[in-house]
Every structure is written in structure tokens, then in C-alpha cells.
Symmetry: C2
Subunit: 189 residues, 2 copies
Amino acid sequence: MKKSIGPRTMAFPTPVWVVGTYDANDKPNAMTAAWASICCSKPPCVGVSLRKATYTYGNIVARQAFTISVPSEAHVREVDYLGMASGKDVNKFAAARLTPTAGKMVDAPYVEEFPLVLECKLLHTLEIGLHTLFIGEILDVKADEAVLGEKGFPDIEKVRPIIFGPEIRTYHGIGKFLGQAFAVGKDIG
Amino acid sequence: MKKSIGPRTMAFPTPVWVVGTYDANDKPNAMTAAWASICCSKPPCVGVSLRKATYTYGNIVARQAFTISVPSEAHVREVDYLGMASGKDVNKFAAARLTPTAGKMVDAPYVEEFPLVLECKLLHTLEIGLHTLFIGEILDVKADEAVLGEKGFPDIEKVRPIIFGPEIRTYHGIGKFLGQAFAVGKDIG
């Protein structure tokens, strides 16, 4: 028997990603977002939902581009800060002692210190309610050599991404390997 | 210096959620999806992207509703199976020995054995490319009493959700607590 807890934004896991943009004066900005996911395989796309009140919202509308930087758990404090402060008031990169690197494919900066980065060109904008969904086509993925594993792909256990628990407001690391996808369930059915 | 690995659906973490629907004959279906996330706070909404070729796609279009069941790591084998088999050919609930429970708020079933469930009414449909994004309004969240923690909310360490690594095709558990959100970064800036 399940207990009803009402209509809430309660689902696990959510990512903890940092959206990189430039403002009208080319000031780089970085904002932490959790309402985000890959949303198409061809073309490869990522979606991120933002409130209109955020500085990043206006930057994406104006520049039609953003990056997603995937932080490692070592940067949890910086990431939490980037989700609280606003680029309206401060240069958040400078305050958090992080380095903005200009994207090679799009007009947006990424966080040099974070191990995995997606460069995205705005493809769709959908007003949902309090949040607006921005869908970007992933033009390139970049990763630190140190986190690459088999086949030259990033290894999740080396990237060590952060996981967010909405409503309960907790950050968690990545846990133990549970199995290979499209393999461990093959004996069923 | 970051290494380019091309335009890929590579970002960590992605969720491993199971989409519950009924077909035209009221046969319950369950499909694993990873291109999914919360995408709005008011109204609370969740988005899930599906290929047109999936059985679930037609079910959502026809019934205008779906559920998201969040599996625990103990069910990784069943979840992997639900991502490989198609409801066109088989009753996947029966094959995986899982129990379909009718949603209380929407015309869709959820997985009784999974600890956290979202009941969703279809709100938006957006064609992106290979995948179509379905956005559902979350009408209710339900959780097993056994996974509830402080304030009556589900505890992520009790739910033990599964995390997927795209491209590298690995499943992982939830890891160690890293800190409280909107708190650990307060001393920066």
C-alpha cells in the first residue's frame, strides 16, 4: 500500500548540472540546474528548464546557446553556490574561483574545472509554467582525459557526478556498479 | 585541456524510470526510459522522451496519461528487461513478475513493487527528432511507507534509485551523502 504525498516535484535521481552562458556584455555566467535531461538521440539533444527570473534565461534567449558542465563531487560547494547566487549581481565564475572557457562550437562558456561538458545550440523553447524548457542540440561533448575509460568514453566512476534529491534537498555521489545495461535482464521473458 | 568526443548523448547522471501505460485493450505496459526529468515546478511536471516505434508512444497518445515508477536497485534485472522487450509482443508485467496497479488519478498503471510512483496527465507533446517529448503534469506522488524519511518525504537512500550511464551502458546505485543543498555553498561569494 502506497501513501499519497501529493503533486510534488519528487523523483530520484535528478542531475546536478551547471548551465554556462554569456550575458549582453559577454560576462560569463554559470547556474546550477536540476530540471534537466538528455531528451533526444538524433539529433542528440539536452533539455534544461529555467525560471524566467533567472539571469541565465535572458542569456539563452539572447545568445541562442548554452553549455552544460557536469561537475564532480569534489566541487559540491561551488555547485551549491552557483544555484543560489544570481549573475545579475555578481560574476559567479570569479566568486567561486572557477574558470570560464569559451565554447569551441557555440557562443557560451563552460566550466574548465568540471570534467564533462556539452556544447549546445538552442533548438526549441517551450513555456510550461513557472519553468521554460530550453532544448539544445548537443554539437560536441568534451571531457578531461583523466576521466576517460574504455572506448574513449567518459567513465561515470571517474567523472563522479552529483545527484540531487528534490524536496529533501540532498546531494549524493555515485554508488556501486549494479550491472551492464541491455545485458543483466536478458534471461527474463 | 579537454578532449572532444563528438556530438553524443553523453551526460551523467540519467535516471532509470519505468513508464506505465495501458494499450487499447487495457493491457498494462511498462517501459524503461532514461531520457527523462522533472521539467517544471508549477505545475509540477515530468518529461519523458520516447521513440515513435515504442509501444508506449501509441499508448500515451491514445490514453493521454502515464505513470513514472522509480525502481530500486534490487530490481535492476527487471528494469533492464523492461527496456529491451516490447509490449507489442508480450505482457511485460507478467513476464517480469511485476504487479500493475491502476493509477488513482490517471488512466495508467504503475509498478506496485517499485517504491516511488508519479501519476501524470499528458500536458504537452513536442516532436524533437528520433524522440518525442511527452510532458505530463504530476497529479500525485505515491511512495511505500518503508521509504519515507523526515517530513514524510521519500528518503533517497531508502528508495535506492538506479542511475544510468548512457553510451557506456552501465547501471549504478546511489552513493554517499555529499551535503545539504542550498546550504553547503553558503560561505562562497
